[in-house]
Every structure is written in structure tokens, then in C-alpha cells.
């Protein structure tokens, strides 16, 4: 049986990712932090995606998370571990910093796995079949479709400006840049009207859109079972640790 994540039903992937994300956010004990981090890495490994991709995704928000961790280390209440000048690192601060960074990286890894193993459009459709209103998912799909067209138009206009001697000189060119943005906005508005006309002509709103069928196979059921089992296990251990039972 193939338990590769790429072939799982997108709807179940979303449910699984959300369940894991909420479970990870529920974890408070430092003993469980390596466990959730390890689980997220195993899930990423099962997706057969390259490690370099995950590292790239981690790097983007890293400065913010590190900054927040540093802030917590220095400005939390508690027992001082080390003093640097006027600043002192607190034991509780290190604990909170480690908790936030680990939870953040684990949840990010789960979300990267979801978005890298499922086409964006399939995610949007799965959201629709999970109950997100069609109007919202349609807007997301159209935005995804036309963002490329607007990008192309912007690129062409920029080339046209450069070919006619435009050089970016900051505020001196503010009028030209405002014209560029204004033109793009007006064109987008006009195009949206034309697209709407084309949609009406082919019956948009005439009939409710058909939601995707949920066809489960053995690997889907196994995947959901594993995720739910992990979550229940982690939450049970966390509750046990909080009560001092373990």
C-alpha cells in the first residue's frame, strides 16, 4: 500500500494538517518538543520532497521567529542564567523561546508538506467541499488565474517605460509609477467586467457548482488513522505531564 503523501485525498490532507497543527500548538511540555519536531520531519520525509526546499521555506520567516525568541529570552520573568551587560537571560525565557521556535517550525513543516504535495487549485476545491462558500473559493481561483495576467501586463508596461527612457529615480518618478499602478487597476477592473460577461454567457450562477466527491481509498483511511492516533497520543501525554501523572 502506498502511504506516500502525494496521492492522498486533498480534503483529508487538509483535515490531517489542521489536526496536527492544532495538536502541536496544544503542546506545552518541553519533553514533547523534540517529539513533535521529529513527527513533522517524518511526515516531510514521507512526502519525498528535497530537504533543501524545506530549509528555504524555513529561512523566510526565520528572522522574525529568532527575534521573538531573543525577546522572550531576555524579557521573561524568572531565574537568571546569564547576564550580559544590562540584559540577563532567563531560564523561563529559554524555555518559551524553544517552545515557540519548535512549534513554529513543526507547524510550518506540516504546512509546507501540504502545499508542496497538493496543487493549489486542489486545495481550494477541497476547501469548497469541506464547506467553504463557493463564492470565496471562486474568488481565490480567479485571483490565482489572473494574477499571472496582471503580472505579465505590469512587466510589459515596465519594459515599455524603460524602452522610452524611464529610469527609476525614486520620488522624482512618483507620477509615472502612480500612472503605472493606476493603469493596472483600471485595466484589471475592465477585464473583471469582461470576464464576468463571459461567465454569464456560459451560465455562471445558473446551476450550483458540483462539489468534488470524497472517494476514500485504503491509504487515505490509513493516513487519517495515523494522524488521529498521533494527535490523541500527544494530547494524552501532554495532559498527563501537566497533571504530573507521568
Amino acid at each position: 500500500m502506498d502511504i506516500g503523501l502525494n496521492n492522498l485525498n486533498p480534503k483529508l490532507k487538509i483535515i490531517g494538517a489542521m489536526v496536527l497543527a492544532f495538536t502541536f500548538s496544544f503542546i506545552k511540555s518541553i519533553e514533547l518538543l523534540p517529539v513533535i519536531f521529529f513527527i513533522s520531519l517524518v511526515i516531510y520525509y514521507l512526502s519525498k520532497l528535497p530537504l533543501s526546499l524545506l530549509l528555504k521555506r524555513w529561512i523566510i520567516p526565520a528572522p522574525f521567529v529568532i527575534l521573538m525568541g531573543l525577546f522572550m529570552m531576555f524579557f521573561s520573568e524568572g531565574q537568571t542564567v546569564l547576564t550580559i551587560g544590562y540584559l540577563s537571560i532567563k531560564k523561563e525565557g529559554i524555555y518559551w523561546a524553544l517552545t515557540i521556535i519548535t512549534k513554529f517550525l513543526s507547524i510550518l513543516t506540516i504546512m509546507v508538506t501540504l502545499f508542496q504535495t497538493t496543487h493549489f487549485i486542489d486545495i481550494v476545491r477541497a476547501l469548497n467541499s469541506l464547506g467553504v462558500p463557493a463564492i470565496l473559493t471562486d474568488i481565490i481561483i480567479f485571483t490565482y488565474r489572473y494574477i499571472f495576467e496582471i503580472g505579465k501586463q505590469l512587466n510589459k508596461m515596465q519594459i515599455s517605460m524603460r524602452l522610452r527612457g524611464f529610469r527609476n529615480r525614486g520620488l522624482k518618478n512618483i507620477i509615472s509609477l502612480v500612472s503605472l499602478v493606476g493603469t493596472i487597476l483600471v485595466r484589471s477592473y475592465e477585464q473583471s467586467e469582461k470576464v464576468y460577461n463571459a461567465m454569464i454567457l456560459r451560465g455562471y450562477g445558473h446551476k450550483e457548482s458540483v462539489k468534488q466527491d470524497l472517494k476514500l481509498c485504503k491509504s487515505d483511511i490509513l493516513g487519517v488513522f495515523i494522524v488521529v492516533a498521533i494527535s490523541i497520543g500527544l494530547i494524552t501525554v501532554q495532559i498527563g505531564l501537566s497533571w504530573g501523572g507521568f
Binding site: I121, R145, Q191, A198, I200, L201, R202, G203, H206
Partner: protein
Amino acid sequence: MTNKPVLKVSQISFGYNRNEKIINNLSLEIYSGERVGIIGPNGTGKTTLFLLISGVKKPSSGEIILYDKKVKVGKFNPNIGMVFQNTDDQLFCPTVWEDVAFGPTNMGLSREEVKKRVNNSLKILGIEKLKDKAPHHLSGGEKRLAAIAGVLAMESKLVIYDEPTSNLDIRYRRKLINFINSSKQDAMLISSHDLEFILEVCNRVILLDEGRIVADGKPKEILGDENLMEAHGLEKPHSLIPHVIDHHEYIKKAE
């Protein structure tokens, strides 16, 4: 040709503001089997006329009857299909297959029927291999064929083509000509500045200028009338100029 028109346009007028009239008291009848070329200079109201006929815009006066029923503005009517001038306005779905399936799905057809129609349309136009592609990854010619497939799958009786040859290379232009000449749609309205194309695919031509019909007849008669064409900012097509007279000025000078 039957006696009853497929489309009857009676004295319609339209303007975007009170002072202008893009379409001016225009009347027109289209019959089954007709492929009508609508020609005229830029800004003469060709696209506006199409939007009025298809029920996208409401005429300020007059009425439009399509297959014995009055065209209702903003209402879906599968009997009429329109291929837009800018294909990006029409191809709004994430993949070609879904875009072609959009119309038939909204018509309430069964999944099997939708699938059958979509596959059939893609096959007729020879673009089966594009079915999973995103529209923004297609070339201009591929986009045009995908847009046509979307209308073809609806099996509309009257199909409107607005500037179908714009941005097409010779190969896709020829593909389009072959497709239109072999298509079984009841009637067609085709606007184009490509007069050679009109000559190849149409059996009737209407010359529009300033929102009025100034000539209506057989393609060779209308397009071959040099004085008429020049009076309305057009040129007689090259293929209708006899080649006994050397009119290739550039070649003559070069020699």
C-alpha cells in the same frame, strides 16, 4: 434556408451615454446556415452589437429575438455562444479541461455527458494534449482554440466570433478556417479585420459603419466593391484585385 430567421434584430439602438449612439436603429435578420461576416472600421460598434445580441448589454430601444424568444439581458441562453476577442477574458478556469466543461456543467448536463462533450470538443480542435494545462501557459493560438472549444462544448446554435484571427499565426489561422468551414453550427456571426479570412469562411457580409448597416450581401460583391470599401475606411482584399495589373509597388521598385 428557412423562411423564419434564427436571429431577428429590430431597430435597436445603444449608446454608453445619452449623446452618443454606438448602435443606431439597426435591424438585421440571420437565417439558418448563414455565416455572416461583420466588417467595418474600428469603433464602429461590432463588439457592442455582439454584446447586445448575446444579452450582455441592454439596447436603449428595439428588441432582439433569438429562436422565437426575446433575448433577456443577463440571462443564460445556451443557444448562443460567443468567442471573445481577448481570450484571457474567456479562459478563467484553472485548466483548459475545466474551462471547456464550464458551460456544459452550468447547463445541468450529467457528468458523463459533460465529459463526452469536453473530450469531443478538444478532439475536434486537436487540443487534447492541452487539457490539463493552465490557460496562462498557452500560446495565443492555443488559447484561441481552447476558447472555441468552450463554446463548441455547449453546442450553441448561434455562435459569435469576435475577431477570431487576431494574434494567430498562419498555421492556427488555417486551422481555424478549416474548423469553421467544417463546423455544423446553425448560424455564425464573425467580425474580423482579416478580410481574406471573411472571404474564406462567410457566405454573407454586412458592412457596419457608425452603428448602421451600410451594405449587406454576398462577400465577393461587398468586399470587391472598391469604392464602397474605401468610403468606409476599408480596403478591397488583395485576392480580389486582378493580378494582370502589377500592383506590387515595392516589388516593382526593387526590380
